[in-house]
């Protein structure tokens, strides 16, 4: 399915946004459901197909959760093994992509806890959401490209994660809620907070309220 969506490019004059035709992510592909159903019946070819399709996005996500590449690869294997053994319990409420990301996230947090590595306490990072206009967003449009990418790299993991799931994995709000294990309303507030955090990093004197 194609539709119009804006795309922004950084030009010498600043960010420029145009409407583009983009391919929309299918919510849940029937063929993917079939792949998981075949896995539930023990068909290893189905697992290989799932691996081929999701190995790269899963590893991308895991590399954002942990900087340790070897650990990320280990977690990728754990994730797919858990998907193999848990395929029969997949109910199709989330997309297969979101289901796998949720497993990956859960395995990562378990592993990091077991290894006593630092885990971000998400409870202290939940912000209040203001629904008023945000003219401060102009700071994002006026920033240099390198400034924005630098700010992204300095974001707190909780904010970077929600942005990656939204804009790299193109998850819907429902899928974001399932992967992150939070209510739908919190998904929206976390996204707004992430934007404010980027803005605050671009303009350190501004509080990310």
């Amino acid at each position: 399915m194609n539709l119009l969506a804006p795309r922004c490019y950084f030009l010498s004059s600043g960010w420029q946004c145009r409407m583009r035709t983009v391919i929309v992510q299918h919510p849940i592909l029937e063929e993917e459901l079939n792949v998981v159903a075949r896995m539930a019946r023990g068909d290893r070819r189905a697992l290989a197909e799932l691996y081929a399709r999701y190995e790269r996005p899963l590893l991308t996500y895991l590399r954002h959760l942990t900087a340790d590449r070897e650990l990320a690869e280990e977690l990728l294997q754990d994730t797919l093994l858990a998907a193999w053994t848990g395929a029969s319990s997949y109910a199709g409420q989330a997309s297969v992509h979101a289901w796998l990301l949720g497993i990956a996230r859960h395995r990562t947090h378990d592993t990091l806890r077991r290894r006593a590595l630092r885990v971000v306490d998400t409870s202290v990072l939940e912000p209040l959401v203001a629904l008023d206009p945000e003219p401060e967003d102009r700071v994002l449009l006026e920033a240099e490209y390198e400034e924005v990418t630098s700010a992204m790299n300095r974001l707190a993991p909780i904010h970077r994660e929600v942005l990656i799931l939204t804009f790299v994995h193109d998850l819907s709000y429902q899928d974001l809620a399932k992967v992150l294990g939070i209510p739908l309303g919190t998904v929206k507030s976390r996204l707004h907070q992430a934007k404010r955090a980027v803005r605050a990093l671009l303009r350190p004197d501004e509080s990310p309220r």
Binding site: N2, L3, A5, P6, R7, C8, Y9, F10, L11, S12, Q16, C17, T21, V22, I23, Q25, L29, E31, V35, R41, G42, D43, R44, R45, A48, E49, A52, R53, E55, R56, T60, H64, E73, L76, L81, W84, T85, L131, E134, P135, D137, R138, L140, L141, Y145, V148, A151, M152, N153, L163, I164, T166, F167, V168, D170, S172, Y173, K188, K195, V198
Partner: protein
């Protein structure tokens, strides 16, 4: 910013903007947001801010990092450990008793977990050496689609079968599946044409341009991204103008008085027919025009340094596009760029190109369900046949054969 009356009172258009940007809003919601954006400058600013964040998020490191093949090998071994003896244990256990090797197991009979394993086909019998060799080759290669299967017993022969069958899914994994490929275009890009610094972006688009339409490619948008840009005509007649050097490749003879193959001066208007191709640089202002009566069908591809993900031309219909952002790998010397059309049956594969090559595919008529391995090989994951266009960029070696376009 005024809350949209079309949403429940406790929700707001601003809440929907990230979903609007990533394309996951339902069509009805999308229409509401679009209508609201026309009248709300604040929302439009916020939308643009989300787009900036999207672009920056997608440029974060580790994007599209491939997993080494050893991960899949370890996964199979872990599953074997869960469900029975490991592959290597099975091979070792069978060292004294030759067992048959199944070269082909019908689809759907593979690796049934609890309901009994598929039987060994009795039609082919080979020695243990070949079995073990095949298994080891498979493990060494670490192919992603290797399917390992054990049998608890052959009820027809009465033999205890604890040896794994090794089914290597190759270019044509199903016995009745045939992959058709056709090289549409190939040429060698000289050293220096592929950018040597910056994040390398590899894109391929399947476009359609309606009769009477003109599609300018803005030079201001292009300014950031030097690199080779390829346009190949599948159907119709495309009139193209590039404000800079353009290399024309003709698939057949051209009519007297029209532009022949070769390098043409800047600003020359060239009519391309099906099978014709041009190469130019991404930074050059370019205009596509369809002066004919049927839609022009195109494949375009490019390899450039910069942050210009996704479509860029105006007035064209994007039937499909694909993109790969590579942070490290790129051909350091001359490279062959090749465009291939492949018709893949379900499970059909395009084999891996030589190492250090770049590969990208696009569906002929829309998003195709194609799996890509770390080695660049492709597989049709769909239940139906798919036609795809595959573009590869391979380092040129002494033995590289370049077919004539």
């Amino acid at each position: 910013m005024t809350p949209s009356r079309a949403f429940p009172s406790d929700e707001h258009v601003a809440d929907r903007l990230p979903a609007y940007v990533n394309g996951t809003l339902e069509p009805a919601e999308r229409a509401i947001v679009q209508a609201h954006l026309r009248d709300c400058a604040g929302c439009a600013t916020e939308l643009a801010a989300w787009e900036v964040i999207r672009a920056a998020t997608r440029s974060l490191p580790f994007h599209a990092a491939p997993a080494p093949a050893s991960v899949l090998d370890r996964l199979w071994i872990a599953i074997d450990q869960l469900e029975g003896p490991t592959v290597m244990e099975s091979i070792r256990a069978s060292a004294t008793v030759p067992r048959p090797l199944s070269p082909s197991i019908p689809q759907g009979a593979l690796g049934q977990r609890a309901v009994g394993r598929a039987r060994w086909p009795a039609r082919t019998r080979r020695g243990l050496t070949m079995l073990a060799t095949a298994a080891l080759v498979v493990l060494t290669l670490g192919a992603s689609y290797v399917t390992l299967q054990r049998s608890h017993g052959d009820q027809e022969t009465g033999q205890p079968a604890s040896i794994p069958a090794v089914v290597v899914t190759s270019a044509t994994p199903d016995s009745d599946a045939s992959v058709e490929t056709e090289t549409l275009f190939a040429t060698v890009l000289p050293t220096g044409q592929i950018p040597t610094s910056g994040v390398l972006d590899f894109v391929v688009n399947r476009l359609s341009l309606d009769p009477g339409r003109s599609a300018p490619i803005s030079p201001t948008v292009q300014a950031c991204c030097p690199g080779p840009h390829i346009t190949h005509v599948l159907e119709g007649e495309l009139t193209i103008r590039v404000d800079g050097p353009m290399q024309v490749f003709r698939a057949g003879a051209v009519a007297p008085g029209t532009v022949d193959a070769g390098t043409v001066p800047p600003g020359t208007e060239v009519v391309l027919h099906p099978g014709d191709t041009i190469t130019a640089d991404f930074t050059l202002p370019t205009t596509y025009s369809n002066l004919g009566t049927i839609p022009v069908q195109l494949v375009t591809a490019g390899l450039y340094a910069g942050t210009l993900p996704g479509p860029w031309a105006e007035n064209v219909t994007y039937l499909d596009f694909n993109e790969d952002v590579s942070h490290n790998s790129r051909p350091s010397g001359p490279a062959e760029v090749r465009l291939v059309r492949a018709i893949l049956p379900p499970g059909g594969e395009v084999p891996a190109p030589p190492s250090s090559s770049l590969v990208l595919e696009v569906g002929a008529n829309g998003d195709a369900s194609i799996g890509k391995r770390a080695d660049g090989s492709l597989r049709n994951l769909n239940e139906r046949a798919e036609t795809i266009y595959v573009i590869t960029v391979e380092p040129v070696t002494a033995g590289t054969a370049i077919p004539s376009p």
